[in-house]
């Protein structure tokens, strides 16, 4: 986590967009792949700007938590990173978002290619109505991998990484709906990992699960961060404190103005000694 310390400094003083870009490019040159740099990012639904002025660096191979009260634009921001916002009509994304130095909103970039590199796990487990094997092999098959042996290897690796292999290795032909909620969510993580993404976005991945399943998901996340960059939205502050390396606190202070990033920094510092009064109030449970 040497990298993350370097990023953390940059993120802390919330520099101007251009500066973030140039520094990200410098860092991006020698960093492992899967780092995002956001400068002056804004999102508008129709005429309403819901999120504005977000400058953020997401270092590779680390866990970044997005926290904040409901409606603060965490999930909206997350969906900007794999352009899932494109699928909802009338959404405009402003500013610049780069992944390893490449602008992901460039006209020449196909969001389909981006999503192969930036996977997503959703709030509720959403396995496809097919067997466990077919669920995990779904992405690789889209990428054109057809050889049985190759797919077998990918499925095993992805399920192992998602900490599900031991439980299901004898039942790969089973229908995905026969799994428990927690297992389904880990299946969805495996499904996302099978395309070998550089980044994994998680939108409150444990909020629909029981405490034991939540624990398993958190353990999985801890295991995964050596392999992929993880950006996780969570409502659960203890969870953010437990699993993330850096935390970004977002807030929408009134309906008349867009949400924004209040502060971002190393998780330990954010939870013990935040710079901003509002961060402190939120973390100590005074609102939200």
């Amino acid at each position: 986590m040497v990298m993350s310390a370097a990023f953390e400094e940059i993120a802390m003083d919330t520099p101007a967009g251009a500066e973030v870009q140039s520094r990200a490019r410098t860092i991006g040159a020698d960093a492992v792949s899967g780092s995002f740099a956001l400068s002056d990012v804004s999102v508008a639904y129709g005429n309403e700007t819901v999120l504005a002025g977000v400058n953020m660096l997401v270092p590779s191979r680390s866990v970044t938590a997005l926290i904040g009260p409901s409606g603060c634009g965490k999930s909206t921001l997350l969906r900007c990173l794999n352009r899932m916002n494109d699928e909802i009509g009338r959404v405009r994304v402003g500013g610049t978002i780069t992944l390893d130095g490449q602008d992901i909103y460039e006209k020449t970039l196909d969001p389909v290619d981006l999503r192969m590199r930036v996977g997503q796990v959703f709030q509720r487990p959403n396995p496809f109505p097919m067997s466990l094997y077919d669920n995990v092999a779904f992405g690789p098959r889209t990428q054109g991998i057809r050889k049985r042996g190759e797919l077998d290897a990918i499925v095993e690796e992805a399920l192992t990484d998602a900490a599900l292999w031991g439980e299901v290795k004898k039942h790969l032909k089973k229908h995905a709906f026969e799994l428990s909620g927690g297992q389904q969510q880990r299946l969805c993580i495996a499904r996302a990992l099978a395309t070998k993404p550089e980044v994994l976005l998680m939108d409150e991945p444990a909020s629909a699960l029981d405490p034991i399943s939540t624990q398993q998901i958190e353990d999985t996340i801890a295991e995964l961060k050596d392999m992929v960059t993880i950006v996780i939205v969570t409502h659960n502050m203890q969870q953010a404190a437990r699993i993330s390396d850096q935390t970004a606190f977002m807030l929408r202070e009134s309906m008349d103005e867009p949400a924004h990033l209040v502060e971002m920094g190393e998780t330990k510092r954010m939870f013990t000694n935040p710079d901003d009064k509002r961060t402190e109030s939120y973390i100590t449970g005074r609102f939200g």
């Binding site: 899932m84 389909v112 996977g119 997503q120 959403n126 889209t142 499904r191």
Partner: protein, 309 residues
């Protein structure tokens, strides 16, 4: 002081009794309405069997079902159902070829690739298509499809199984489309999102995730469309030429089971053998459509259970 509570309690008791009585009446009425449909269905079956009994006894159901010649006014009288059954299957087969691809395609388009007023407009048009009387579709067939088939395939007559099947296919579309569209609509959005997030295009998402997830509902829609096509009478009567001979291709005139009943029922002796034979035809038709609808219902029910999580 002592009187009032008893009085009040008495009134309360009266109100409760009345409420219970009303509830009992309403419940009975609703049960009766529900039972009535079962009673009617059973009555139709019984009535068909009773009227068909004479012909089954005199000729034999097996003989009628395996007979290849339908010649009810000749000597000897021949009551072979096979030409009629084959005629029905030929027309229905053509209809299936028409409504399966168009119906599924249209429902996918409406559900997955259209939105807003356009989507609502399309759905209204489909519903309106279902409300058009079959005789009107018959007119359309007579005016447009018969000459077209005749010219395109250089036939001596445009009244063929193909003609009837084409129009039947169009008539069955609303059933197929609206049920398939419902099934596609019921597929949770989370699955679409999941597929898109894995780097699938919208089209890949549709054919790899959404359509397979809705497959049982789409199947049910196709089965109900099939039931509609088999049972349709008026349009086929107007379009197929009604020659009761075993067809060798869809470019020949056929006579369907429904067409036979409708055309001949007016000319038979009430209570005679021919009359009874027509009821046997009806019985066979009833059995076929009943089984198709039952199958479709079972499949639909399974799909409903699947998404109830």
């Amino acid at each position: 002081m002592a009187v009032t509570p008893t009085h009040k309690a008495g009134r309360r008791l009266g109100r409760a009794t009345r409420r219970r009585a009303v509830e009992a009446v309403v419940r009975t009425l609703i049960y009766a309405a529900g039972l009535l449909s079962i009673v009617i269905l059973a009555a139709i079956a019984i009535f068909l069997v009773v009227e068909a009994r004479q012909s089954i006894g005199e000729i034999g159901l097996d003989k009628m079902l395996s007979g290849t010649q339908w010649f009810p006014t000749g000597t000897p009288k021949l009551f072979g159902f096979l030409p009629l059954i084959v005629g029905t299957l030929a027309v229905t087969g053509v209809a299936v070829v028409v409504f399966v691809p168009i119906g599924i395609g249209a429902s996918v388009f409406i559900s997955e690739f259209s939105a807003g007023w356009f989507k609502e407009g399309m759905k209204s048009v489909i519903e309106f298509m279902a409300a058009v009387p079959s005789v009107v579709y018959g007119f359309l067939g007579v005016a447009v499809v018969i000459p077209w088939v005749k010219a395109t395939f250089s036939l001596t007559s445009g009244m063929t199984a193909l003609t009837g099947g084409l129009v039947l296919g169009i008539m069955s579309l609303p059933t197929v489309i609206s049920i398939s569209e419902d099934a596609l609509h019921a597929v949770p959005d989370a699955l679409r999102q999941g597929s898109l997030a894995l780097g699938n295009t919208r089209w890949q998402t549709v054919y790899k995730v959404v359509v397979p997830s809705a497959s049982s509902g789409i199947f049910a829609g196709v089965m109900l469309g099939l039931g509609r096509a088999i049972g349709e009478t008026m349009a086929v009567l107007m379009l197929t030429g009604n020659a009761a001979v075993m067809p060798t291709s869809v470019f020949e005139s056929v006579r369907t089971m429904t067409g036979t009943i409708a055309a001949e029922m007016g000319e038979v002796v009430y209570g005679g053998q021919h009359y009874s034979v027509l009821f046997s035809v009806g019985l066979v038709l009833f059995a076929i459509t009943f089984l198709i609808n039952l199958a479709a219902d079972l499949v639909l029910e399974r799909q409903r259970k699947r998404w109830r999580r």
